[in-house]
Symmetry: C3
Subunit: 132 residues, 3 copies
């Protein structure tokens, strides 16, 4: 089969536009940019940075899980943050949540994000037992 | 073979620097960041947002096609836009052009882009029938 | 095996947070965002742009090498630069260092980066002889 399988899960923020929460193809999982939005669709761009980061990361991990991956199979994570001063706080939370998993990562400061969010995260992960 | 095959097509904006329009390797197509530039090299950073988005997206789709893919085999699309207020307009155009295809996506607002463009798009897609 | 192999090399800047310099999985190498930091950890956000770009690119290439790749197996490079006016200077240096290799590329102007750097680069590359 040569078309990706879309990921659809109630455990992460619903897709808010013309995209899937993630796609699975060839043993890899591609996760859409996740904002601090709850699985019920509530946007949380007004919460403190740490809570926003926790929500966005939770969405990423829920989509990875729904695609057949785990934190340990994350390959690369890209993090866009508003306010480079939040970097240490982000890194601490991220370390807490990922534990032993240390995927490649890029953190890109941006001046603003959609819906006033302070953080957006996307990722590529491997399907457990998937092809490599 | 372990080196990527460069994509060269007259149907998309020519590479304006030291890069290929895209590369193909292991059944996957990597598309370079596409600006609103016509296949003849004319830069269109002065057009309205919708026309710029249409041009950039057309470049992406032409490069995917030249690499052996189709809109349905897009895995992940990353969109950089100047002016987060253009998000709904982008999403509407994108839905129109992609139809049933809903790849993973991230939209990143940025303060400016090269040549005054309002949008830049890159992507990863699968080669049709390619390896997975 | 379905977990990525972390890349650890003394030839590139050490990981400055909860991430690996890169990961290898399924014949692909994912390189973390590289700043102009020396392998000994010295940050060089105060050097002229060209020297910063050279350092960041050197880190990327060292991590690719440590993962089993080469400049010729780079598939996609993403470059974040502060000051779009540095684009030509970046392109010239990049052409010099990459030679015949012309991976897909996206250059994204951003207003600032971590530690006052003017450039950050990440990449995906193939392992030589690796699976495709």
């Amino acid at each position: 089969m040569s078309t990706p399988r879309p990921i659809i899960t109630n455990d992460a923020a619903p897709a808010g536009g013309h995209y899937s929460q993630g796609t699975v193809y060839g043993g890899l999982i591609y996760v859409s940019g996740q904002l601090p939005t709850r699985p019920d669709g509530t946007r949380c761009g007004d919460l403190p940075f740490r809570e926003q980061a926790a929500l966005a990361l939770q969405n990423v991990l829920a989509i990875v899980a729904a695609g057949g991956g785990r934190p340990e199979t994350l390959l690369k994570v890209t993090v866009y943050i508003v306010g480079v001063e939040h970097w240490p706080e982000f890194n601490a939370l991220y370390a807490e949540r990922l534990g032993d998993a240390k995927p490649a990562r890029a953190v890109i400061p941006v001046p603003r994000l959609n819906h006033g969010a302070l953080v957006e995260i996307d990722a590529v992960a491997a399907v457990v037992g998937g092809g490599a």
